[in-house]
Amino acid sequence: MREQILKYFKQDKLPHVFCPGCGNGEVMHAMAQAIDELGWDPTQILIVGGIGCSSRIATYTIFDSLHTLHGRPVAFAVGAKLANPNLKVIIVSGDGDASSIGGNHLIHAARRNMDLTLFIVNNYTYGMTGGQYSPTTPLGSFTTTSPCGHVEEPFSITDLLVGAGAPFVARTGTLYFNELVKLMKLALAKNGFAAIDIFTQCPTNYGRNNRLGKPIDLIKTQASILVPKEKYDLLEPGDRVGKFARGVIQDVEKPTFLDHYRACILSTRKAVHHE
């Protein structure tokens, strides 16, 4: 079991650099298991990361890896996918990388329905740079740039993506490994833009700053924050504060960017060589 999973990583580079208790390793494990269960050819997979702890997951894998600029993995991935549509493109990005500096690319890739799979590793902080606040940091939390308690409301990334037109949107947390694998398989197999908002733990920075520095304490908060979607939908708006729906949020079928583009190629008249 473990041997089979480890085949997807550069074993000479393990153990990885992530902190003790960090959820990144579990995301790596779940992703490898999902790909293994899908039986995909690893040579056709491209994994793209931005900048941040979770974005470093990309170069630990044995797939073609593209470690890009902060906030931009989705834009790089769009180019790679369009240049070679046979590639299975997986993006691993953090909450800040994906929804702050990368927010614009996220919205448009979802709107265009680019056939990409995006795992947003959401630890509600900028972990790598020491624990500053991000667009998913809960109101009132303590971070190095909100020492008096955060004064901003966080995004629900899934709401953002549903609004932008993404056909597959899901959310879960590292407390729910089996659900994570199940959702990853669905997202990977989806033809179109598929994203999972994965709540995870940063015990070293977010955890310690909020007196949840023990990994188990931080990961256990997911049990009260993440509510199964069916239950969440029945909650009164007042009871939804600080809570997020867990599971498949949306799963619809719609043509992808390339579906539309290819139809355009077929219908367009031959371009004239010169004016």
């Binding site: 044995i62 073609d64 890896s65 470690h67 890009t68 600029l69 834009a75 790679a80 369009l82 010169h274």
Partner: protein, 373 residues
């Protein structure tokens, strides 16, 4: 097949040149005065099985260019000053990760929003130093519509040869003007092939060949390509040790600058007999041509820089050795002239003729300065 006569706009010549060179991916964002390049590519690429996409901004454009190039496409974009400023981080990435691509910068009035519809040549230094860090860059500058076509093919070729981004530095005048161009669109031109590695077993993404260029396998071919812009060793895996950083940065610069003689291009006229030489490029060269045409002074000549960067100290010094006066007309406050001043110091009289108001230097203006020099 046959030489035909066309009335082309500079921007369209750029696009035609790109297509001739095999470009099959364009991602860009509309910005005056470069939009015509994008519009032509939007028109021409789909039927050639290429990809045209208008990304959400210039940052996304250059990012997608890099992804596409690494996945095997030949990719270009077109922009102007403000967009070029946004692309600087991406440009640095492409340099560091050794990714072939071409950025067409149609220079307009700056700084910032500046003069969107008027020409300057004020991005010259930005093309060299806009992105942070010690890095090499190749920048080419056409002075006519016909040259825009052939030079664009060369730009794409150089980006493949050196696995580095190339800046195609044109300006609003050359890009928007229309000239009669007589060419054979079907003629065979040299197209630099992208060297693909053969053996996955000993493959390392950043293993340089004897010319210091790594041959990266495109994604999806089973080679396990690893690309990052953190310092990395030959395998592509990040490595920020002092030894690797020192060695790697040096190779990156040497890769281009040690081979400058392979691609450096100038055009010259009457340097053998000239006491006064105009050193010019792009739109301001047109003024030089008019002045020489009108005055017919046998002691005047020009050295036109087609390659803007890298600057070839040795060759320029050699070509200008007979000149007593060097006149450098530029549509900026004096950028390329600084390279000439650096080269010659007080040993020659160097006269800078500048205009930065969005208008061309007139032949009268230039001739008067040359006569008084």
């Amino acid at each position: 097949m046959a030489i035909e006569s066309y009335l082309w706009q500079g921007s369209h010549a750029v696009a035609q040149g790109a297509l001739k060179a095999g470009v099959n991916y364009f991602a860009g964002y509309p910005i005056t005065p470069s939009t015509e390049v994008a519009e032509f590519m939007a028109y021409a690429l789909p039927s050639r099985d290429g990809i045209f996409i208008q990304m959400e901004d210039e940052i996304a454009s250059i990012a997608s260019l890099i992804g596409a190039s690494l996945a095997g496409a030949k990719a270009i974009t077109a922009t102007s000053g403000p967009g070029f400023s946004l692309m600087q981080e991406g440009l640095g990435y492409a340099i560091m990760a050794e990714v072939p691509l071409v950025i067409v910068d149609v220079m307009r009035g700056g700084p910032s929003t500046g003069l969107p519809t008027k020409p300057t040549q004020a991005d010259v230094m930005q093309a060299k130093w806009g992105t942070h860090g010690d890095h090499p860059i190749i920048a080419l500058c056409p002075a006519s519509v016909k040259e825009s076509y052939y030079l664009m093919v060369k730009a794409v070729n150089l980006s493949e040869r050196f696995r580095t981004p190339v800046i195609f530095l044109t300006d609003e005048t050359i890009a928007h003007m229309r000239e009669r161009v007589q060419i054979d669109v079907d003629e065979k031109l040299y197209i630099e092939p992208r060297i693909e590695p053969k053996d996955p077993r000993n493959y390392k993404t950043f293993q340089p060949d004897e010319r210091l260029v790594p041959h990266q396998a495109k994604f999806g071919t089973g080679f396990r390509t690893v690309v990052t812009a953190l310092y990395h060793d030959e395998s592509g895996f990040q490595n920020t040790s002092a030894e690797v950083a020192e060695r790697f940065n040096k190779r990156l610069v040497d890769k281009v600058e040690k081979y400058i003689d392979e691609f450096y291009e100038t055009e010259e006229y009457n340097l053998e007999n000239s006491e006064l030489v105009f050193v010019s490029y792009g739109a301001s060269h047109r003024t030089v041509l008019q002045v020489l045409n009108d005055s017919k002074n046998p002691k005047w000549g020009f050295l036109r820089l087609v390659t803007i960067w890298p600057f070839h100290d040795k060759l320029v010094k050699e070509k200008l050795k007979k000149a007593k006066v060097i006149v450098v007309p530029e549509l900026n406050m004096g950028q390329m002239v600084k390279e000439i001043q650096r080269l010659f110091g007080d040993t020659k009289k160097i006269v800078s003729v500048n205009r930065w108001d969005g208008e061309l230097i007139t032949p009268d203006q230039l001739r008067k300065v040359a006569e008084q020099a």
